[in-house]
Symmetry: C2
Subunit: 195 residues, 2 copies
Amino acid sequence: MLGNAVKIDPRAKRTRKLILDALIQLLRTRTFEEVTVNEIAEAATINRATFYAHFSDKYALVDELIRDGFMMFLDRRMQHYPDTPTRYMQALLWAIADHWAMVHGQCNQYHRFFDSLAENQIKRMLEQHIQTWLDHYSPLRSVPAMQRQLLATMLSWSVYALAARWLYSDRCQNLESFINDSVPLLVGSIEALKG
Amino acid sequence: MLGNAVKIDPRAKRTRKLILDALIQLLRTRTFEEVTVNEIAEAATINRATFYAHFSDKYALVDELIRDGFMMFLDRRMQHYPDTPTRYMQALLWAIADHWAMVHGQCNQYHRFFDSLAENQIKRMLEQHIQTWLDHYSPLRSVPAMQRQLLATMLSWSVYALAARWLYSDRCQNLESFINDSVPLLVGSIEALKG
DNA sequence: CTCCTTATGTTGCCTAAGCAACACATTTTC
DNA sequence: GAAAATGTGTTGCTTAGGCAACATAAGGAG
């Protein structure tokens, strides 16, 4: 949203990208658990010590991978800022489902561990995004900031919960009708705050 | 031929590759004359000063580009070391023609300048390659080294001359029959040295 | 012509990345 | 169960790369 104007050394930037790309590439043929820091460094054509200068371990790396990926997804989906709670919540559910499909489409990560790392990061991103959206949503202008923050936290978990429920239930219901069923529940809690 | 075992810093290696790739990419949309060092550095995500640490100018860069490209071409073609002068000369002509097609297929370089830079490097590579081949060709074992060196020089120019003649004559004759016509001329000068 | 812009090389100081070696856990293998 | 092998983090010291500033040169526009 705001282009955090912290000058980053081009070498560091390039190295981070090399590492991220290396992990993506490795996840095509191996499970996340199977991939070693050594392999990542090698594939990224950097030194193992350099890896640790950027990430504390491979879990921190996958955190950033998910973060970045989901952020991009979200930004692209929100080009035309949805102005009603309903449209906004629809867009969020949509984005989560698509992101999930993309990640599972090109990665091998059977263990739930990977998913739970992803879940944490995504909820974090969601909360931040929702927080910003709520702050710009004029009907809530008069509501105390703390209330909006609580709402953002709750909504991020709720949205993710609903999406996950659908994703892990073999997607028997089609996405659109699932979204139609879910959105009113979410919007309800926003409306409740209005008065 | 011999894997020159000089340990090269991985950073330097990576940077050289970034620069070379950047030039290749730029040559798809611009003429060699139009490309600036600035653009190359930018596309390679390195600093302009770093460019000059590797190459004295963009002409030195294109020299290496051609050298590397042609070397690879030659090596691949010479997997099964041709054991007779005839087969060797055929392979050389073949390689030159293919390399030329590849370069002109993916580069914009109208000016003859580019071609003449390329010509110099290719002849240099050819001479070196031919020199090595002649040194391993047993029937010439008894011929003084100096004689073989002169022969290598002459052959490199001759081979290139013939290939260029064909390349710049709209390729009206088909490649195979052109090669059949040319090879005897080249082989002749080798045979002459035998006795 | 003069000013302005743009490209080329060069330099010295600073920072990120490479490397080797270490201590420390896991495995694996015999 | 000891020994070899493999993976994880960490630590100085060295080196390549980033940056800003400079001098210079070659067009372009007024």
